[in-house]
């Protein structure tokens, strides 16, 4: 049986919006795909495992939690870069996205260096964008973010907000996806609500997976959850 190893980085520090659900979705779905799944967790101050994981997951935290994690993450940066070169994939949500970006411009004028895994640079804005969203590609969830994102060349976004109960969110360009890194500011959490993104991530590790019928119920429920959001935001 093929194996899938997931490393959830900072699950206690970065868990503002139920991001444990992203790991849960990956684990449950991978098991249904017939993979033997191992999930490891590493907190701030702990060492990375010796063996390279297939997927690294990062969640979201408060600003002080993010700054706390950032210092630790920088110390692990070289190892993470080596893993990515060797084939490890990364899922990062919310401030986890900040941490793997080029960096985050702070409100006090400072700059938080990121790991540079995306071509995005993030900035903290004075106001939050908050609301349920429906993006292109049928992705749906909730955004609660005060980050603006400037992008390098190339169309790597996950999606664009088509409808929302917050007018300010319409046209918001979310996330980053390049076949190695999947990042987003959509909560719900992202993967349980949008299983096709979970499956996309799994397909980056194992391209020839066939979706089992056992996932139909979960996918149907998630679809109806997204549909309910769609109906609400489209009025």
């Amino acid at each position: 049986m093929a194996e899938l190893s997931i490393l959830h980085l900072y699950p206690e520090t970065l868990k503002l919006n139920g991001e444990r659900g992203n790991t849960t979705a990956l684990k449950i779905r991978a098991e249904q795909f017939g993979l033997k799944v191992r999930v490891a967790q590493v907190e701030v101050g702990q060492d990375l495992p010796a063996k390279r994981p297939h997927i690294v997951v990062l969640g979201s935290g408060t600003l002080s939690a993010t700054l706390h994690a950032a210092t630790d993450l920088q110390s692990k940066g070289d190892q993470l870069h080596r893993w990515l070169v060797a084939g490890t994939k990364v899922l990062a949500v919310g401030s986890g996205f900040d941490l793997i970006s080029q960096g985050l411009n702070l409100a006090n004028g400072g700059f938080l260096q990121g790991l540079g895994l995306t071509n995005t640079t993030h900035s903290i804005e004075p106001t939050y964008l908050v609301g349920e969203v429906e993006l292109t590609n049928g992705i749906a969830g909730f955004i609660n973010s005060n980050r603006s994102i400037s992008r390098g060349s190339g169309a790597f976004q996950v999606g664009v907000v088509q409808a929302s109960d917050s007018k300010e969110l319409i046209g918001y360009i979310d996330g980053y996806s390049d076949g190695r890194v999947l990042a987003s500011n959509v909560q719900g959490p992202l993967l349980p609500m949008n299983p096709k993104l979970a499956d996309l991530l799994l397909s980056w590790v194992y391209p020839k997976l066939t979706k089992p019928t056992s996932l139909r119920t979960i996918d149907c429920l998630a679809s109806k959850a997204r549909k309910a959001i769609s109906v609400r935001v489209r009025g």
Partner: protein, 418 residues
């Protein structure tokens, strides 16, 4: 002349709306429109002071406990109802008690205030003392982060004149109080390691990465908590307290209320009177409250946020036999349900509300059976009541709880000042 007019119109509106069974904040809003200084004119004359209770969770329970303790010591206490902790809600509560000239006959005011709006009330009537229960993950669509709540409560503390008592085992409230120690009497209520271990997930405080580890002077210690029994110690003297509902969170609320009462009452404080006062309290709405309806016992568990739901689930002794989950747009983003340890919830019988499928998806990933999915809460309630068994558990958000109470004929949406 504005105050009597505000009282007249407000009282009339309050009477009419209560007949219809709702609208608790509307009379206060109108009174404030007529007399913008309504709060100053009414509350400003309190002889023994004004005290605020705030924090993410436990405000209502702690306030109810504190009020009962003070009343049983003989004080005439003015308070605001559960949920009525915004300026307009407070004004509505005052309308129930003021005379036609806007005068009150109470000795002391104990007011539950919203984390964000508390400072608005404090700017009008500065509190003598402030009691902070905790800072937890709550209403992120509104507050975005516990750090924002810290800043709001810090502003409230700046407007407080004499005393601040906080949950010292919550790193955020401890640090917040520490920042005011040069100007205010600052005290902490600490939870012993033994008591902390009585709940699977402890006190569920939001993480704090800036606390330097120094402690406040102790107002009280929660020595032990087990089921309905708690032991609180003040000045090294422990005494038992029977809680209105089981759970570490209630024990913490009781310790906070007793400690704060001790500060307000000074030498008149009596531990045995305080313990007896708390043991006689009913559960606050949605915090283990059991409603008798058509021969069935409906326990209401509120899922206001992750910590409140987790604390209530941790306090369950056995798996609920018949479970209904109902959540609507009062919880715009239920992402946090993926961080809940569902523990003793081994099945759910019916899910309703606009978040039906988000909850069902969560349960499906957990492989927990979810019975029927009925988006209409009225139809779901009918189905839930038709299920066999006389003991049922409803897990609902605040808005659904208020709807349910109204639906079941419980119209006492206000209260407090008996």
């Amino acid at each position: 002349m504005l105050t009597p007019l505000a009282v007249l119109v407000g009282k009339a509106l309050r009477f009419v709306l209560r007949l219809r069974g709702g609208g608790s904040a509307v009379p206060g809003r109108i009174a404030l429109l007529i007399q913008p200084k309504f709060l100053q004119k009414t509350l400003g004359r309190m002889a023994s002071g004004i005290y605020f209770v705030s924090g993410s969770n436990g405000k209502s329970t702690t306030t109810a406990m504190l009020v009962k303790v003070l009343r049983d010591h003989g004080l005439r206490v003015l308070t605001n109802p559960a949920g009525g902790n915004l300026p307009q809600g407070l004004a509505s509560a005052l309308l129930a008690d003021v005379d036609w000239l806007g005068k009150l006959s109470h000795d002391v005011a104990i007011l539950e205030v919203d984390e964000a709006y508390g400072k608005l009330i404090a700017a009008k009537v500065a509190p003598n003392g402030l009691l902070l229960t905790n800072i937890q993950l709550d209403q992120l669509n509104r507050f975005h982060s516990p750090e924002e709540v810290f800043d709001y409560l810090d502003e409230l503390a700046k407007l407080t004149t004499d005393l601040i008592v906080v949950n010292g085992s919550d790193a955020n409230t401890e640090r917040l109080a520490m920042g005011h120690s040069d100007r205010l009497k600052t005290l902490g209520v600490y939870i012993s390691p033994k008591a902390m271990k009585s709940a699977a997930h402890g006190i569920l405080a939001a993480p704090d990465f800036q606390n330097d580890g120094s402690n406040l002077d102790e107002a009280a210690t929660l020595v032990d908590a087990k089921g309905l029994k708690a032991t609180v110690s003040i000045a090294g003297k422990p005494f038992p307290v029977m809680l209105p509902s089981p759970g570490l969170h209630y024990a913490v609320d009781a310790a906070l209320a007793i400690a704060f009462a001790g500060q307000i009452l000074g030498p008149k404080f009596l531990p045995d009177v305080s313990a007896k006062a708390i043991s006689g309290l009913p559960a606050v709405y949605g915090r283990g409250e059991v409603i008798e309806y058509q021969g069935q016992k409906l326990e209401i568990i509120m899922m206001k946020n992750l910590p409140s739901l987790q604390a209530n689930l941790d306090a369950l002794v056995t798996s609920p036999k018949c479970v209904w989950i109902s959540v609507d747009e009062g919880t715009p983003d239920p992402s946090w349900i993926y961080d809940i340890d569902l523990g003793k919830i081994d099945h759910v019988d019916v899910i309703s509300g606009t978040k039906t499928y988000q909850w069902a998806t969560r349960l499906a990933y957990e492989d927990i059976g979810y019975g029927k999915l009925i988006e209409s809460e009225s139809a779901a309630l009918e189905y839930f009541l038709s299920l066999p068994g006389a003991e049922k558990t409803a897990i609902v958000n605040y808005e659904q709880m208020m709807w349910l109470r109204k639906k079941l004929g419980l119209l006492d949406l206000e209260g407090g000042n008996g």
